[in-house]
């Protein structure tokens, strides 16, 4: 038998392709370099074939799952920093090492609104981190502080603020060095101190100065996400035209879908003919955008101002003042599209949208509605709290300040109330739920947890796909969607123990 050349062939497995289909195909990886190989080039040009062959018994071999919004896990909260750098780093390391059992191999730690002085430090600590035996921390996701008070959820209201100086405020709060336009970290060597990683900022575009700030941030390579907002349709659309690529946990912390002012949720149904400046588009429209639009349309958030005034209650029963007329695209003198089939290919692109698919944060029907409207933009997230731990049994657990919480499956309640206290679903469970809620195939659900988030962040050449040259971060799932083993950079870092094979966690 020839000496081990460090190449591994996974055979007897199903591979999810980037279009969502599952094919029976072998996958070759280089375990020394930790990358996925182009098998044909390796065979004919390198003249080598793998010496190690692993038979996966018909299981699914998927790129490792990617979670772009997660607040903590295994008892560590990314947003809590008490001055001890070492302890924080250790906490990050622990999360990264343990989360692989849920099939996640890349994640973006998320921090909620903080006291402003903490941001530069924490964001600095959240530099990209990649160790051989743990999931990769891709960078940071800052939710707040430029969010809407009315939709703050669990964020502390005293730290919310507007951005009067636009991008400068961003730099003041987050730290200018954290927003520097550096070359993509994936092209720099591992461990480089100055590496700047993936950065996501969630903010409300109707808050003062945010829209100006987002234009500059997008130029710096930051992924701007609309969330915790009450923006009207016009403002939300304008934000997307300015470069917002993502919607934070769709349906949660945003206005309900009103049919005459669909707002942020309605972005999934935006027309392809929305004008994009500097784009060579034959059609023009007078779809209101820009500053005039903001002035013309009813005052921002007026629908909600009224609601807040009238007190709590289901929004469905409120009599809301609706805009006098739904804006329409002005007719243009050119032929309409004549060929049946795909939607017009126009410069305007709808944003990606995150969804927490635990069946609790959104009703399964809502999940299916969103997916049907715009499948290519769907990203699954957990938005998990620090309590996330698949091994935690149901029941009462200590939290903080003497309070306890009750865990019931994926539901988390503050003891004594019916208030949902956050999410503790794992990403692989989201994938399984998603197939049930929408009726889609396992390959398409995996696409929403691997390729779509990678594409949104712009890292699809390295993470989230099975392309040649991508990192060999893989997860083996059985055909029911349960994680059997997880691989990071070509090495198996977690394997389901024999005794647990029947456990459905």
């Amino acid at each position: 038998m020839s000496a081990d050349n460090g190449l591994i062939c996974f055979t007897n497995c199903l591979l999810p392709l980037e279009d969502g289909s599952l094919v029976e195909q072998d996958l070759w990886i280089d375990e020394r370099r930790g990358v996925i190989l182009d098998a044909q080039r390796t065979f004919f040009l390198r003249k080598e074939r793998p010496t190690k062959i692993i038979d996966l018994g018909g299981n699914v071999l998927s790129p490792g799952l990617m979670d772009i919004q997660i607040n903590g896990a295994y008892g560590f909260d990314f947003s809590v920093y008490d001055g001890d750098e070492e302890a924080y780093r250790q906490g990050l390391k622990t999360v990264a090492e343990k989360i692989v059992e849920t099939g996640v191999t890349s994640l973006v730690p998320t921090i909620i609104t903080q006291e402003k002085s903490l941001y530069p430090t924490i964001l600095n600590l959240l530099r990209p981190y990649q160790a051989n035996n743990s999931a990769t921390l891709l960078g940071w996701h800052a939710e707040g502080p430029f969010i809407q008070l009315a939709k703050r959820g669990a964020h502390a209201p005293e730290y919310l603020q507007p951005a009067p100086a636009g991008f400068q405020t961003f730099e003041e709060i987050y730290g200018a060095e954290n927003l520097i336009d550096k070359e993509d970290w994936l092209m720099t060597e591992d461990g480089q101190e100055k590496a700047v990683g993936v950065r996501i900022i969630t903010a409300a575009p109707e808050v003062d100065g945010v829209k100006r700030g987002l234009e500059e941030a997008v130029k710096r390579g930051v992924v701007f996400s609309i969330g915790h907002s009450i923006a009207s349709t016009d403002i939300a659309t304008a934000a997307v035209v300015s470069g917002a690529r993502l919607i934070t946990h769709l349906f949660n912390a945003m206005p309900q879908l009103h049919h005459r002012d669909p707002s942020i949720i309605g972005l999934l149904g935006a027309s392809p003919y929305v004008p994009v400046p500097n784009a060579k588009s034959p059609t023009t429209s007078t779809f209101p955008t820009g500053a005039d639009a903001l002035a013309r349309s009813p005052s921002t958030g007026s629908l909600f101002a009224k609601k807040m005034a009238s007190g709590a209650g289901s929004e469905a029963f409120d009599e809301l003042v609706t805009p006098p007329q739904t804006p329409t695209l002005e007719a243009v003198d050119s032929d309409l599209k004549l060929k049946k089939g795909a939607v017009s290919h126009m410069p305007f692109e709808r944003p990606f949208y995150e969804m927490i698919v635990d069946g609790i944060h959104s009703h399964p029907n809502s999940v299916r509605l969103a997916y049907s409207a715009f499948p290519e933009g769907c990203i699954l997230i957990t938005d998990a709290m620090k309590i996330l731990d698949p091994h935690l049994r149901d029941g009462a657990h200590e939290w903080r300040d003497g309070k306890r919480f009750i865990k019931e499956g994926d539901k988390l309640y503050l003891e004594g109330t019916n208030t949902l206290a956050g999410s503790v679903v794992t990403l692989d469970k989201c994938v399984r739920n998603f197939t049930r809620f929408t009726g889609c195939s396992l390959g398409e659900a995996l696409k929403c947890a691997t390729y779509n988030p990678a594409k949104c962040l712009g890292v699809e050449n390295k993470k989230g796909t099975l392309r040649a040259g991508a990192d060999a971060d893989l997860v083996v799932l059985d055909r029911k969607g349960y994680v059997q083993s997880t691989w990071v950079k070509g090495r198996e870092v977690w394997k389901r123990a024999e005794a647990e094979l029947s456990l459905k966690i």
Partner: protein, 465 residues
């Protein structure tokens, strides 16, 4: 003068002529065999195991006369005379040998006679073995002896690599009856299974090693896919290994990048090589992007020769009866070369290039008809109704360069495996004939196997199939 009686010496004082025996041309050991002419006055010099010398003369229809300028061989030099057809040469030979005064004809002229006794046959076998041992030893020592005569030349001994002793003459594996077989099966998957099992058996019986690999020629196209699938299954079941198999593909487009989805590199990798355990260095496919295409073709031929020739060449057939890219009108003695594709072929291929004719390659490198026929065995897979006409032309009609597969009729050991649909244009008589002899063929092959197992040596292509 009749040489019927073998008790009378033909000539005086030839201490050396050992034996003349009848061998079909196709089983000359490499180095002495070629498709070109060998002259009687060419002596091939060999070495015996004991370090002595041996000479061999080969007679064929162009041989003229024993060159009297040849020096007298030393005593006890073995000499072999190989003729292709004893009958026609008896008279000439006897005349020559009689006239020559320097030679004494000691041995007897043998041929295929009815009264051939077992003893005579054993003798013959032994001599044949001697002959081949000498010739192969000579090969392994690296060529010719140092006999100084100018006229000792070898018109056909090429300075090629040693031919590995893959199939020595007289050994069990090599000499099966020369035959052309047509096997008919119900559908494409049974055809694939038959060929897969056959190739697996041949490889396993051959027992290939690193020094003596099994050389296999492979095709592309839709016909061989069931065969590949079955071979893959055998490899995955552990019944077959390609670790010591060397493959040569038939053809490749010119100018198409290797990783293009329609290139034959992609096809072979996707359909076959990625699933079996063949080492990549043992895979040979023509390089259609070489700077020197003609050099590439010549190098390919040379590489085949360096392995001692191809053991089995598996091939398919085109609707116009072509084998590899040897389209109608190709010379039947062609070698590996550049071939411009016929308009029909380009049209047929357009569907793989987005129906854009301008993107279809116009040239291809292909092995020639003669390259395929030089292999020891040829297996052709013909399935589907579209190939029926081509099959009938190739089997039932004459050898015709417009149906290049018909050249197979000249090959001593060919196997064509077809499915029922492909027999659509054959005469009922033909189909019935081949179906009936398939049963008998098994019996005869069993007999030969038995004979070999008992230590006997087949020397002839006795089978008249």
């Amino acid at each position: 003068s009749s040489l019927a009686s073998h008790k009378k010496p033909l000539l005086k004082s030839i201490p050396l002529v050992h034996s003349i025996f009848n061998l079909p041309r196709s089983i000359y050991p490499s180095g002495l065999r070629s498709s070109r002419l060998v002259h009687f006055d060419v002596v091939t010099s060999l070495r015996t195991p004991e370090g002595g010398e041996a000479w061999a003369f080969i007679l064929d229809e162009w041989s003229t006369r024993l060159d009297s300028r040849l020096p007298t061989p030393a005593p006890h030099t073995k000499i072999f005379l190989v003729v292709t057809d004893v009958g026609s040469w008896r008279d000439v030979l006897s005349a020559e040998l009689e006239c020559s005064s320097t030679w004494r004809w000691d041995a007897q002229l043998r041929g295929r006679r009815k009264e051939e006794t077992e003893e005579m046959r054993q003798d013959e076998m032994r001599l044949l073995e001697d002959f081949t041992t000498c010739s192969s030893l000579s090969r392994s020592v690296g060529g010719h002896s140092t006999t100084p005569t100018a006229s000792i030349k070898s018109a056909n001994l090429e300075e090629s690599h040693q031919r590995p002793e893959s199939v020595p003459l007289g050994s069990k594996q090599m000499l099966t009856p020369a035959q052309n077989r047509l096997i008919i099966r119900d559908d494409t998957s049974s055809v694939g299974q038959y060929i897969g099992d056959y190739i697996a058996k041949r490889i396993n019986d051959f027992k290939p090693t690193a020094e003596k690999p099994f050389v296999l020629g492979l095709p592309t196209g839709s016909s061989p896919i069931p065969t590949y699938k079955h071979l893959i299954k055998l490899v995955k079941d552990g019944k077959l290994s390609f670790k010591h198999v060397v493959t040569f593909n038939m053809d490749e487009y010119v100018g198409l990048p290797e990783d293009h989805p329609e290139s034959y590199h992609t096809f072979m990798f996707r359909e076959f090589f990625s699933h079996i355990d063949i080492p990549p260095s043992q895979v040979n496919i023509l390089n259609g992007n070489a700077k020197d295409l003609i050099g590439e073709c010549n190098a390919y031929e040379a590489k085949i020769k360096s392995y001692g020739g191809i053991e089995i060449f598996l091939g398919g057939i085109g609707e116009d009866g072509h084998i590899a890219f040897n389209e109608p009108g190709s010379s039947l003695s062609s070698r590996t070369r550049i071939k411009t594709l016929a308009y029909d072929t380009i049209l047929a291929n357009a569907r793989f290039f987005g129906n854009d004719i301008s993107k279809v390659p116009r040239m291809a490198l292909t092995v020639g008809v003669q390259t395929v026929l030089d292999s020891r065995e040829v297996i052709v897979v013909v399935t589907g109704q579209r190939k029926a006409l081509a099959l009938s032309k190739a089997i039932e009609e004459g050898i015709n360069h417009l149906w290049t597969l018909s050249a197979l009729q000249l090959h001593p050991w060919a196997l064509i495996v077809v499915d029922e649909d492909a027999t659509a244009e054959l005469h009922v008589k033909t189909v019935k004939y081949f179906k009936s002899i398939e049963r008998v063929q098994d019996e005869v092959e069993a007999m030969h196997a038995q004979f070999r197992e008992n230590g006997g040596k087949d020397i002839t292509g006795g089978q008249d199939a």
